[in-house]
Every structure is written in structure tokens, then in C-alpha cells.
Subunit: 209 residues, 2 copies
DNA sequence: GCTCGGGTTGTCCATGCGGCCAATCGTACT
DNA sequence: AGTACGATTGGCCGCATGGACAACCCGAGC
């Protein structure tokens, strides 16, 4: 990220001034996202962002209306990117069980170490206070739940899942479960998710009474 | 909270100096917790806390090693208090279904408006970064999950719940589900929890395939 | 060749912060 | 009565922050 190649002239091309402008803007956004994940939303300063981006701190004032706007924009972009992978997984997975197994496996493999997780928690906390951030984040969540609901519906038609329960409800519950589990894992890294995974998969499979 | 009765002499008793000290400390802790819930962890200043507590700002330095310690202590106390009600509910509830229905009803009734919810989110985010806060919070979570597991076990012995799944896993899943739902509700207040509630209760009851 | 304008740079400033401390107070103990 | 000591109080300091700004650089278009 400190690498100037992000915003400086590449070998072949000459850096038109307009190109430089967008490059600087992007470098600031990337640096802001990285620093929020590292140090926390409120610990981040415009000077630190500029330093990380390799630009003088005056550049922040020029490219953004203020720290608030910069962080909001950076957080939104980072959230969209972080949510892209799970969303794609939800659409491509063959079944709910497969999705859950894959996600649990990712948790167990230490997916929490990904700075994106810290980034998401910071963004969620901020979104709870800033409506301008909350609205788009809520929309992203909505899309994710929708993709999940489609997957659930497919499973129900195949008879792999109880058909008597509302698909959107199952989707909302699964989404909440997975996010809640992330939250608990962040607070207690020693928590063993194996039993929870077994329990959920067992219940969904219709364990005998 | 501005009410001086919290820390000033009550009618009958004379305020011994030691008692005053304890009262001031407590007033600072209460004010800190309230302000964190209102404005967010990082937006809180020692001066604002002192003003809310009705004491001069120098009192903070005297009673606490620093802002960090004050906030940590306040957050921990507030979290313990906020978790007391759900924990008691988990121990006293007759069944998992009853617990879930009660909790869902509380969500639907607008339990999110409770400042304790904002407080918890702030504390969680901070605990993710501060091990000194994370450890006790993790312990509280552990206790809550344990109480829930006991409840699940009772249900399994009564045959109200599938016996083939690990009780601690079910407990961990339910705890994550409920907390994750809070998170989603904070980010999207318009989210309807009814379908999710129906789905979870249906799955736990063993809906026919 | 010259202007024009977006992009860049470093400096400056007002503000508010957390923490420190010396003076003061008032109670409890001798 | 006198002393010791914890609690109180408000002023003070150093410092970092976010933002504004004037000077500048340099390619683009005439």
C-alpha cells in the first residue's frame, strides 16, 4: 500500500493530470480503508491516511469535503468489496448445507484474521450512527439475504429443506447466525465453532426427535 | 443522570469524605456509560463525562488512571448490567421456544431503542481491539452460552428438541443468531423479524419435510 | 509561446483534547 | 485544638488534530 506504483506513473504511459487526480483519490480511499481496519475508525487521522497514501495531507482537503466523507466513501467501497465474495458464494453454492459448511470451514481456518472482518465491524458500528452510511449498507445486506433466500427456496423445492417454513425467514436467520458467529468469534477467538456447525447442519437436515 | 442526588448527601446521612469519593467515582462511571451509548466511544471526552457527572474535569484524573481505564471500567459495568436481564431470562425460561419467542417479541416491540443496545455494539467493537476489555466480555458471553446450553439440555431430555445434536452447539448457534439479528436490526431497522422467528421456531420444532 | 485551470504542496491557524498539579477544603483521628 | 490525609477544584500546558489557503507546477488547448 505504501508502494507508490498505486498512484505513480507506470512505465509505458505518461500520467495525464486527470489520471493523477483519480489515482490520488483512490490511493487516499485505499489508505483510509486499510487504516480503519488496522487502528479503528476513530483512531484514524487525515494525516495518517495521507502518509499511508504517499501524498501530502493537504490533498485530503482537496479531494474530499472532509474526513467524514472520505471515511464514509472508503468504508462503503471496502464493504462492497468484502461482501462480494460471500454473496457470490451464496449464489453459486449448490445447497444451504454446502454454503454453511464452506462458511464454517472459513471461520475455522482463521478467516477472522482477514482485516476485512475488522473493517466490517468498524463500519457496522459507524453505520449505526450515520444514516448516510447505514442506508447503502442495509441495501447490501438486503441483497445478500435475497440471494440466500433464493438458495433456500431451491433447497426446499428439492426437498432438502423443510418446505413449511418461510424461505426469507430461513435466509434472515442464517445470515444473522453467520454474522453473529463472527461477532462472537471476534470477542472470543477460542470459541469452538464445531459444535455450533454440527448443531445447525443437524437441525436443518431434520435430526430425529 | 444530571441529578446531583446520585452523588450528593442524602437527607438523613452526612456525607463522609470516603462516601463522597465512591459516589463521585460512580457518577463518573455512569456518565461515561451513558455518553458512550449516546455519542459513541470515540466521540466521548473526559470533559463531557465530568460535566454530565456534575464534577469538575480534574476529578477524572484523580479517580482513574486515564480516559482509557475509565471507559473500560464503565463499559464493563454497563455490559454486565445489560446482560443480566437476558441471562436471567435464559435460566428462568421454561423452554428454548419460550426464550426465543420472548426475545423476538422484545425485538419487535422496539427493544433496539434501548441505549443499552448501542452501548453493547460500542463495547463489542472496542473489545475487539482491547484485550483487557475482551477477556471479561468473553467470560460474560461464555456464561450466557452456558445457561442457554442448560436450557437446551432440559428441552432435549423432555423430548422437545432433537437429542442428536450437541446442546452446546445449539446454544452457541442460538446466541449467535440472536446477537446477529440485533446487528442486522441496528443496520436495517425496517427488517421484519417475523419470518425469521417463524423459521427458527419451525425448524427447532422439527417441521415436516 | 502563452495562457488557462486542475492538481499539488507545505504552511498556518484555531480548536479541543488528555493529563498534570498546586492550592484548598473538610473530615477523622489524636 | 491541632494535625494528617484523602477528596476537590480549576487553571494550565503541550500537543495533535481537521481544515483552509496561497503559492506552485505542468500539461492541454489555442
Amino acid at each position: 500500500m505504501d508502494n507508490p506504483s498505486t498512484r505513480r506513473n507506470r512505465p509505458g504511459r505518461r500520467p495525464s493530470t486527470a489520471e493523477q487526480g483519480v489515482a490520488t483519490r483512490r490511493a487516499l480511499l485505499d489508505a483510509a480503508a486499510a487504516l480503519v481496519a488496522e487502528s479503528g475508525w476513530c483512531a484514524v487521522t487525515t494525516r495518517a491516511i495521507a502518509a499511508r497514501a504517499g501524498v501530502p495531507h493537504g490533498a485530503v482537503s482537496y479531494h474530499f469535503a472532509g474526513k467524514e466523507e472520505l471515511l464514509r466513501e472508503a468504508a462503503l467501497a471496502a464493504t462492497r468489496q468484502a461482501l462480494a465474495a460471500p454473496a457470490a458464494f451464496a449464489t453459486q453454492a449448490g445447497s444451504v448445507a454446502e454454503l454453511l459448511e464452506g462458511t464454517f470451514a472459513w471461520y475455522a481456518a482463521g478467516g477472522l484474521a482477514d482485516p476485512a472482518v475488522a473493517q466490517l465491524l468498524e463500519t457496522a458500528r459507524q453505520a449505526a450512527r450515520d444514516p448516510l452510511l447505514r442506508a447503502p449498507i442495509a441495501a447490501e445486506l438486503h441483497d445478500y439475504r435475497k440471494a440466500l433466500a433464493d438458495l433456500v427456496r431451491r433447497d426446499q423445492q428439492r426437498g432438502a429443506l423443510a418446505a413449511g417454513v418461510p424461505a426469507d425467514g430461513v435466509a434472515a436467520a442464517i445470515a444473522a447466525l453467520l454474522d453473529g458467529l463472527i461477532l462472537h468469534l471476534v470477542l472470543d477467538p477460542d470459541l469452538d465453532t464445531q459444535p455450533a456447525a454440527a448443531a445447525v447442519l443437524g437441525l436443518l437436515a431434520g435430526e430425529p426427535r
